[in-house]
């Protein structure tokens, strides 16, 4: 058993590490947008601010280490070095990649790019506005073909930059005439400890002790860094949304169980009545109601001063908070009305789904021989149903319910939005919208950990409850 537990724990750690790595890599897709978000909407180009913005942008880009290799190793074609993809300037990056991919010579591409930059600098001050415009297009040319068209524009001929254009054209021809495109097909692997993942994992201080860290002590030490948006630690930012969503999820699951079991039993017990014949299709109808519509319907019905004002329409606590001297129980009672409608939204579908599953499972179980035997022994129908049939039928229900826990904990954006709940769903979506990478990784890891834990729990509970399932050690392992 200990060995089994250890193996399960090991698989948990491996899966979590996989999720963390995937989450980390996902956030590396758009580093430039993340930096822009951090700088706010200050995408400026007024004369007084342009240089300043670019400087700040590049500083922040490097500070967040987006210019480093993403992982310990990277591979790219021999023609295009991996570093070209991580330049802060998108246009420079794209041009260098294009030039190198065609020429197969990154060093010469850099030299050519420098020449091009010099030409642009000079041409921007040219008295001819046409030359100015051409100069402005130079760094944005997204293909060599476009670059050629720009460089061969007749407007250059009478400009002061004409000789530079000729030089650039010559260099471009030289670059292309000695092209080695085959280099694109030869992979080059780079390995370095100076990479983004390493800093994320071990922090920016001493990698063994974590001492001297300025921004993060490393994910391995439980420090996922600071939110780009608020500059607070990720764990502090996630704590409240997580606890709120967990609270709602656990209550929802409990209520789900408490309601769906009697419903399923009633549906079986009174299956031949008219009421059940009406209720069953109604259940399917309710199940089919979209979540956002159900939320709005509930609001309009039970939080509406023009109809029934039974519950508050938003929030989780009264305005101004709880009374200072209120006990835990009082706080619970005060906040209860705020959770009624969201919890109904969470569970209405699940109750119907679970009831139907349990109903089907019970019906199957009631056909079994041992049930017939129990009945033949003269046991009361209640005893047959509750003691024998239900016990065996409830197993799939447990698995399904616990399996649903991660979905609930990851939060329902729709429900949280309708009722203004500051839960995990809203938090995750906000972090994605704002490219808040540390928060995104935090949410991924937490949701992943809960998913794995839920599956493990479901596994153990299944094993614990069902005497037929035994872990038996055999020569070949477990069965």
């Amino acid at each position: 058993m200990v060995s089994h537990l250890f193996r399960r724990f090991l698989s948990f750690v491996i899966a979590l590490a996989g999720i963390a790595i995937c989450g980390f890599l996902l956030t590396r897709i758009s580093p430039r947008e993340a930096v822009r978000q951090q700088l706010g909407a200050n995408i400026s180009s007024s004369q007084i601010k342009e240089d300043f913005y670019i400087k700040r942008y590049e500083q922040l880009y490097r500070k967040l280490r987006y210019d480093r290799q993403v992982f310990y190793w990277s591979w790219s074609g021999l023609a295009v070095p991996d570093s070209f993809y991580r330049l802060p300037d998108k246009y420079k990056s794209e041009q260098l990649i294009e030039l190198s991919a065609i020429s197969g010579c990154p060093e010469k591409s850099i030299v050519f790019y420098q020449l091009l930059a010099q030409l642009q600098l000079v041409a921007l001050t040219d008295p001819d506005p046409k030359v100015n415009d051409l100069a402005a297009f130079l760094p944005r040319a997204s293909s060599v073909e476009q670059l050629r068209i720009l460089l061969n524009n007749p407007a250059w001929k009478n400009s002061a930059s004409a000789f530079r254009v000729a030089e650039v054209n010559k260099e471009l021809l030289d670059l292309l005439s000695h092209s080695k495109p085959w280099k694109n097909w030869i992979p080059e692997i780079h390995f370095t400890f100076d990479n983004q993942f390493h800093y994320w994992l071990f922090g920016d201080g001493n990698w063994l002790t974590g001492e001297g860290a300025l921004y993060s002590r490393g994910a391995l030490r439980g420090d996922l860094g600071k939110s780009y948006r608020t500059q607070s630690f990720v764990k502090d930012e996630i704590k409240n949304p997580f606890l709120l969503t967990l609270k709602i999820s656990l209550w929802s699951i409990l209520i789900c169980f408490l309601i769906s079991i009697p419903i399923a039993i009633s549906l079986i017990r009174y299956k031949h009545t008219q009421l059940v014949k009406i209720i069953q299709p109604s259940m399917i109808f309710i199940y089919a109601i979209p979540l956002f519509w159900m939320g709005t319907l509930l609001l309009m019905t039970f939080a509406n001063p023009d109809f029934l004002k039974w519950f508050p329409a938003s929030g989780i606590a009264p305005q101004g908070g709880f009374p200072a001297d209120s006990s835990w129980w009082n706080r619970f009672l005060i906040s209860l009305p705020y959770f009624v409608l969201p919890v109904i939204c969470y569970i209405y579908g699940a109750i119907i789904f679970l009831s139907r599953i349990l109903q089907a499972s019970l019906l199957q179980e009631l056909e079994m021989d041992y049930i017939q035997t129990a009945r033949a022994k003269g046991l009361h129908e209640n005893k047959v149903l509750y003691k024998h049939a239900l016990r065996n039928s409830i197993l799939p229900l447990l698995t399904i319910t616990i399996g649903a826990l991660p979905v609930m904990v990851s939060g329902s954006l729709l429900i949280e939005n309708i009722f203004s709940l500051p839960g995990m769903g809203t938090g995750l979506v906000h972090s994605v919208q704002l490219e808040d990478h540390p928060m995104m990784i935090g949410y991924f890891i937490l949701t992943g950990a809960i998913t794995i834990l839920a599956f493990m729990m479901s596994d153990f509970i299944f094993t614990f409850i069902d005497p037929r399932i035994r872990i038996q050690k055999t020569a070949s392992g477990y069965e």
């Binding site: 758009s30 947008e33 951090q38 700088l39 706010g40 909407a41 200050n42 995408i43 400026s44 180009s45 007024s46 004369q47 007084i48 342009e50 300043f52 913005y53 700040r56 922040l60 246009y91 921007l124 506005p129 100015n132 415009d133 100069a135 402005a136 944005r140 040319a141 293909s143 476009q146 068209i149 300025l214 600071k226 608020t230 500059q231 607070s232 502090d236 409240n240 949304p241 709005t296 609001l299 309009m300 939080a303 509406n304 001063p305 023009d306 508050p312 329409a313 938003s314 929030g315 606590a317 305005q319 101004g320 908070g321 939005n417 309708i418 009722f419 203004s420 709940l421 500051p422 809203t426």
Partner: protein, 616 residues
């Protein structure tokens, strides 16, 4: 401060744009008018007290999202800036009623030297920090140094303070100081408008900054490793401690943060014996004991909360939500509600300088651009998509401003005129396929353009389809394509478009035209998306930026607007509105064209049976 920068900020926020209108006057309007067209509207107090109205002296305000933090200077969110209006104070403030700048913590607007590089300020004598100490020039010097410091996280303020050479405290008078600027610039004074002043003794108790001069902070080689004491100070200053922990939030404003329930509400409480306690000025008064900002994102829930009188005010309701509420008698009984003009507008930007490869030279001729303006059904868009609440605009300058050129013509919807202009430009449907064409540089080009719009709101799509249909009647094939916001922004900034639809905002402060219209802003991938301008317009823009004489400046602004109208880089569509709501139980309520739209500190509960109150 940074009101003109709002042009840029709101380009980003425009994904959340509301559809609004513009107006022509700046006078007060009567309450009965459904749409207000003024810089502010003064609302009457209650005519009679309703039995279900609360007499609580707390004000509950609806917001859409909580701020990123409540740091006095570091942060990006608009909500942070709005809450700071109550907890912080600035040397200068925007007068929300007039749109002009006025003195805040100083006795008057600064005296500006002839070369416009020196601003002489004098602080008011009665201003005290929360610990009872007096506001002095030392605090201003510290604020400027902290804002300039390369290690502090205030990127929005940095470019402006970069232009501050130094702040010199008067050795003989602790209330006087001089701000020395590097370059003359139209916003040199505006830097100090609504920019919170930091308490030196609180934020820099060890006087780290006394060791550093302004010139050191300007040094591009200034590094954190060589100045670890300053880096340590900045790390603490940037930390959430000063932005989230209510114990470390201090400011000169009449309110302090009492609590911040994450994702739910932020509560401000009135300070006892604050130096503004006897003030009745609408910008300094503090009538409510508490101001609570509560988050609510869902339209249905917002409607119910307003019907239940949970909220006292909002400037964040959606247009449709407010329309629905205005049809409800209970709501109308309890609330004042208006669509207030703002300084923003929507537009179609036309690429005047395409690269010729990815984007063909279809819109390089001013006649073609003018034809597209004639073929844009702006009035229909306003009527169909926005329920008629918006007004047309024809200039980047708001009609609320004195600088607006009133003699500019509004281009009517006229497909025939559009057709004749296209004919004159040589675009004719020679192959009878319904799309005009022309031989350019030996190649036959079809007048087929892509209209890029944001996929953020359904209204954008409706508008794009209406425009495509209408321009199609003039023989211009328009392919409307939706982009998510980052892509839309990227396409616009890199001039990777034929025609792009968007919204831009501004403020009551003097415009810095360089941001939208200078050629540098096109070359540098800035917000001059279209490629408008040449050396003459650049010179004009520069002159506007550096001319402090208002009459001369406005003359130049008129000229620039006419040039923009002639070149037609934009098809200006309609002005944006702000949806303002406030409970009728208050006296002194006002709505403003300028952000934030309402000031809640000035809301005084009208006692049952009291007379109508008017703000001072």
């Amino acid at each position: 401060m940074f009101k003109n920068q709002a042009v840029l900020k709101l380009l980003t926020l425009s994904s959340l744009m509301a559809f609004g209108l513009f107006s022509c006057t700046s006078s007060k309007k009567s309450e009965s008018s459904a749409i207000e067209s003024s810089t502010f509207v003064q609302l009457p107090g209650p005519e009679s007290w309703k039995s279900d109205w609360s007499t609580s002296n707390s004000v509950v305000i609806h917001i859409l999202a909580e701020p990123d933090n409540l740091h006095p200077t570091n942060g990006n969110s608009q909500t942070r800036a709005e809450i700071n209006l109550y907890t912080q104070m600035a040397l200068l403030q925007s007068d929300l009623r007039t749109g002009e700048m006025r003195a805040g913590l100083c006795t008057s607007l600064p005296q500006v030297s002839a070369d416009q590089l020196q601003l002489n300020f004098e602080l008011r004598d009665s201003i005290l920090w929360d610990d009872g100490s007096r506001l002095t020039a030392e605090d201003i010097v510290f604020t400027a140094k902290a804002s300039k410091c390369p290690f502090t996280d205030n990127p929005a303020a940095k470019p402006y303070f970069d232009n501050v050479k130094e702040v010199i405290a008067d050795p003989t008078n602790p209330l006087k100081f001089t701000v020395v600027m590097k370059k003359a610039y139209i916003q040199n004074v505006g830097i100090w408008s609504d920019y919170p002043i930091l308490q030196s003794a609180f934020f820099d108790s060890t006087k780290v900054f006394s060791k550093y001069s302004f010139s050191q902070l300007d040094d591009p080689t200034f590094s954190s490793s060589a100045h670890s004491d300053l880096q340590q100070w900045a790390t603490k200053f940037n930390s959430p401690e000063y932005g989230i922990d209510t114990k470390f939030m201090t400011g000169l404003g009449p309110y302090q943060i009492q609590s911040w329930e994450s994702g739910q509400a932020i509560t401000l409480v009135k300070k006892k014996n604050h130096w503004t306690r006897n003030s009745t000025n609408y910008w300094e008064a503090s009538y409510p004991e508490k101001i609570v900002f509560r988050v609510n994102r869902d339209g249905a829930s917002q409607k119910l909360e307003f019907k239940s009188q949970v909220y006292d005010g909002s400037a964040y309701l959606g247009t449709r939500t407010l329309f629905d509420l205005k049809e409800d008698s209970t709501f109308n009984k309890n609330y004042h509600a208006r669509f207030m003009d703002t300084y923003g507008f929507t537009y179609l930007a036309l690429n005047m300088k395409p690269d010729g490869v990815k984007h063909l030279p279809l819109l390089t001729d001013a006649k073609v651009r003018r034809a597209l303006a004639f073929a844009t059904p702006v009035d229909d868009i306003i009527r169909v998509v926005n329920r008629g609440i918006n007004k047309r605009v024809n200039s980047p300058v708001s009609q609320l401003k004195k600088a607006y050129a009133k003699d500019l013509e509004m281009i009517p919807y006229d497909v025939k005129k559009a057709g004749s202009l296209l004919d004159a430009a040589g675009w004719k449907d020679t192959d009878q396929d319904g799309v005009r064409d022309k031989i350019v540089n030996g190649k036959k080009l079809q007048l087929e353009i892509e209209l890029a719009y944001m996929a953020t709101q359904a209204e954008w799509k409706e508008m794009a389809l209406m425009i495509a249909e209408s321009m199609g009647k003039a023989g211009v094939k328009v392919n409307a394509v939706a982009y998510d916001f980052p892509n839309w922004m990227q396409k616009s900034l890199s001039h990777d478009f034929d025609m792009v639809m968007g919204a831009s905002n501004s403020s009551s402060m003097p415009d810095d035209y360089g941001q939208l219209w200078s050629t540098a802003a096109w070359k540098g991938n800035g917000p001059n998306y279209t490629g408008f301008g040449d050396a003459s317009t650049d010179a004009l823009i520069d002159s506007i930026s550096f001319t402090m004489d208002e009459t001369k400046r406005m003359e130049m602004e008129y000229r620039l607007q006419h040039r923009i109208a002639d070149d037609q880089p934009f098809v200006f569509m309609y002005g944006l509105v702000r949806r303002c709501v406030v409970h009728k139980r208050f006296n002194h309520a006002e709505f403003y064209a300028e952000r934030p739209g309402l000031m809640y500190n000035n809301l005084q509960v009208a006692a049952p049976g009291s007379t109508v109150g008017t703000a001072q």
